[in-house]
């Protein structure tokens, strides 16, 4: 059988991995038995890297070296407003990278965001490998539909650093729809409303004959549970300030505890109407007396302080449907995705807006990974029926004279696609043209995002307006863009795969891949060495006790059998030491341990120790 392709939902808060087994997508639980893994990475004081639940457990005591919600930073520039706001609130240290990108400083080492994400992806890879019992190198990774090119590229880089071949990046709501429709032979128009920890997406799909055609998609890549948490934290901080005159924001440990408790309270309020928030010994007062935080939060207060966030999601839905000229009545099903859609108020608002009861039976935190696994199998040719027709969420174009943006690929164009347009020079004797690649819906260049730029040189000397330069935009099925400019006279070409905002150069990525592999290798060697040592130690001990036990055990059939097994164990131990692999060593060590246990038991019973 060919290697399975896993599907990974790399979430802001939680990540999840799934694979197609016996023709159906299944979520793979991690070592602790949990079906999702917190997207957290920490560096402990002994230099150990911790990922997932272990990282989450120590987050409060090691706040400055524990990274959460890194997805909010991926593919963003250091000087962007989003990064500013993260710096203000995050307990970890955000610093500027060499390319104007974002890095996180953990105990003196700056880590790029793709690297942080790579640790999470690598963890998911291991979870899958342990479950499947074979190496896994191929994956489909999901991103929010509204992620831009740089964010997608950075996510792909993260996969490479983690030793994964990311065969496709797909959009989270699309993945959810794939899992929703899988094996059901639907013929419907479905809206997927995905509100997770960090991002909001809305997508409308037409499903039929196992084809999933995305008709429209939009969202906000900076709107999610984190923002709801922030509202609760602000409310708690303000209350504390009023009561004790102390600003908790300066205290990183307190902030981390507040965040923890805020999220917990919020989740509780999805089930009950009122909850008690208790943080004993939160900080100390002016006379060094211990101060505690204790407040009651009701569901209605929570709803009131987050009403505008909820309305924002509805406004985006409205705009998306209007732009795609889809009537609300044309939607047959609404699927809720993301942990945040467990909040009753959100379910209520969505139901009221679409005038539809949202579909039950979809697991909001798992459905995305399951869909990714389905797409993985489809691309691997294992699942022959499914075909995904996704779109680009943003318009793409180039900067032209007057600072305007000339659109080349429109929003919601089905992928893959390539479009070209012919441009000309604006100055006499212009030797080069500069192609500024823009993304966004504005007609003004500076209101859109600059994805990258490059120049095409060697142009014939000519008065302005004479030279013809053809610019071609090609969008892959991943939604990743490459741009080519061609001088139609000389045939000279210059192209660019937009990766500038990923912030990492190819060299850096290669270095990180190597470092990651070394790290993995070192770890493996270490474990190997430890196992060898253990086998050697046990062999010596068994050898020393052998005659004594042989005498003490007597001469029954049972005894002979036991001694044969002991001999066999020793033999296996010696062979494994000579050149066995990790598996042989492990088995030998198990056998020797059992033998040794038996020896000790015999000697203890006969009193001949």
């Amino acid at each position: 059988m060919s290697q399975p392709v896993i599907g990974i939902d790399l979430g802001t808060t939680n990540s999840c991995v799934a694979v197609l087994e016996d023709g159906a997508p299944v979520v793979i639980p991690n070592r602790g038995g949990y079906r999702t893994t917190p997207s957290m990475v920490a560096l402990a004081d002994n230099g150990r890297r911790l990922v997932g639940h272990i990282a989450k457990r120590q987050a409060i005591t090691n706040a400055e070296n524990t990274v959460y919600a890194a997805k909010r930073l991926i593919g963003r520039k250091f000087d962007s407003p989003v990064v500013r706001s993260v710096i203000e609130t995050a307990p970890y240290r955000v610093v500027e990278g060499p390319g104007g990108d974002v890095r996180i400083d953990l105990r003196g080492t700056a880590h790029s965001i793709p690297e942080i994400s790579a640790f999470i992806l690598a963890e998911m890879k291991v979870v899958a490998e342990e479950h499947l019992g074979c190496p896994v190198t191929k994956a489909v990774v999901t991103v929010p539909a509204y992620f831009n090119d740089g964010q997608r590229q950075a996510t792909k880089d993260a996969g490479r650093i983690a030793g994964l071949d990311v065969i496709r990046i797909i959009n989270e709501p699309t993945a959810a729809a794939l899992a929703y429709g899988f094996g059901r032979d639907l013929e419907r128009r479905v809206a997927v409303f995905d509100l997770g920890g960090g991002t909001f997406d809305i997508s409308v799909l037409a499903i039929g004959g196992s084809v999933y055609e995305v008709i429209a998609t939009s969202g906000d890549s900076y709107l999610g549970g984190e923002d709801f948490d922030r509202r609760v934290i602000d409310w708690l901080v303000a209350g504390f300030q009023e009561e004790h005159g102390i600003d908790l924001r300066a205290d990183k440990m307190a902030l981390q505890r507040l965040k923890d408790v805020a999220e917990r309270a919020r989740c509780e309020l999805s089930g009950v109407k009122e909850t008690e928030i208790n943080l004993p010994f939160l900080t100390s007062g002016p006379d060094r007396e211990a101060l505690h935080l204790q407040r009651t939060l009701t569901r209605s207060v929570l709803e009131a302080m987050t009403a505008d966030l909820i309305e924002r999601t509805i406004t985006i839905c409205e705009r998306t449907l209007a732009e795609a000229e889809i009537g609300r009545e044309e939607i047959h099903d609404v699927v809720l995705v993301g942990g945040m859609t467990r909040m009753p108020k959100i379910q209520e608002r969505v139901a009221a807006y679409f005038e539809l009861e949202p579909c039950k039976g979809v697991h909001p935190e798992e459905v995305v990974a399951m869909g990714a696994a389905v797409q993985g199998a489809a691309l691997a040719g294992e699942e022959r029926h499914v075909l995904l027709l996704d779109v680009t969420p943003h318009s793409l174009g180039v900067m032209i004279m007057g600072g305007l943006c000339h659109r080349i690929v429109d929003q919601n164009t089905t992928l893959p696609t390539s479009r070209s347009h012919v441009f000309t020079t604006i100055k006499d004797n212009q030797k080069t043209v500069k192609v500024l690649v823009l993304q966004g819906e504005s007609d003004r260049g500076d209101e859109n995002e600059l994805l990258g730029e490059f120049s095409l040189g060697g142009i014939r000397q000519a008065p302005k307006g004479e030279v013809e330069i053809e610019v071609t935009f090609s969008l892959s099925a991943d939604g990743i863009l490459s741009v080519t400019a061609r001088d139609l006279e000389t045939g000279r070409e210059q192209s660019l795969t937009v990766s500038a905002t990923s912030g990492l150069s190819e060299d850096e990525i290669l270095r990180m891949i190597a470092a990651h592999q070394d790290g993995g290798l070192a770890g493996q060697e270490e474990a190997d060495y430890a196992r060898r040592q253990a086998v050697r130690r046990m062999l010596t001990e068994v050898g020393a006790l052998f005659t004594k036990v042989d005498e003490a055990i007597g001469d029954s059939n049972h005894a002979r059998e036991a001694m044969d097994r002991a001999r066999d164990g020793c033999e296996r131990g010696r062979t494994a030491l000579e050149g066995g692999d990790a598996k042989a060593l492990g088995e030998a060590s198990d056998a020797l341990e059992r033998t040794l246990g038996m020896f000790r038991g015999v000697l203890a019973r006969t009193g001949t120790v």
Binding site: G381, L387, L404, P416, T417, S418, D428
Partner: protein, 372 residues
Amino acid sequence: MPEPRSIPGIGSVSLIPTPRLDVDLTGVALGPEDYFVLTRCDGKTPIGIVLQLTGLPEARALACLVHLIDVGAVHVPGVKPRSRVAQRVAAAPAFRVSMMEDCDLVPEECERIEAKLASLSSGSMFELLGVPPETGTRDRQRAFWAQSKLFHPDRFHGRQLGSYGAALAQIFDALREAYEFLDDDDRCADYRRRVRDGRYVEPPLHSAPIPAVSLNMSPARGERFGAESSAPRDRPTAPRPRPTVPPARVAELFERACHHEVTGELKLAVDEYLQVVRLDPKLRFVRRAAVAALKVGELALAEELSRRAVAIDLEDSNSRRVLARVLHERGRNSEALAELEEARRVDPANPFLDGEVLKIRSAIAVGGPETP
């Protein structure tokens, strides 16, 4: 001046449709009404008048005009042939699949892809999607899905495709464009009517060169598939363009003129530009000639040329800008100002106009001589 009436999809009725005499219409099915409308387009009469002159019901005449634009028989400034499929298809025959290629496809798949690729340049968009013209939206969507399942590049993911990769991309693009084009009810109805009348045939291969994207072969225009291809035989092969002045010669001459303009040998440049214009009175050639004439101070010639340029494309603000500069040089500032105002109206985004308006306003304010 009152705003001229505007026609959806085309624009102002004051635009002038020009017959494209370089386009060979042999392969294009035009109905008698189409031909009639075509004969009313003389390159001088604006659309509004053309529509009246035909004596046909306006909607009918307009449909013919749109069809003429679509097939490339008539050019209206700023209006692109509406069927992007049609344009794209023109480049298709340049793509030749090598039969010896080292790829992971089985022969049936290769044949299927080649046959589909060949069919892009014949048949209607309905045939491309594999539906009868009267099919409704839902069935068209289903057909698009079924075709996508056959030709979407993802269906071949991870396989070595060689040049079939580019072929698939091209097929899928064409399918998608047809699907999107027909998704508009009005457009679809209009197109359906034409298909029924047998008038849907795509533009001749040598018109509207849209460079073949993502294929690193230069499109040899007008060339059909080689003998090994399964191109249908029943479609009349478009003949090569009538031999006129070889475009290469014009281009060469033009390049030389540009060079002389840039190096300051302006007199020479003007002569060469005039030759170019005589061979091929294209807008940018005419305008270029006007600028050169202005630079050497041959103002009468410059005015004549820039007026010609303006007449070729009334919506082209740069031609008007050149004309305004000539008029300013000739001391007719208020006329110049009027041209600039018009240029600003047709193209508010042109960033150079404001500066020129200021310049001329100040010239008027200073009280420069106004020679009638």
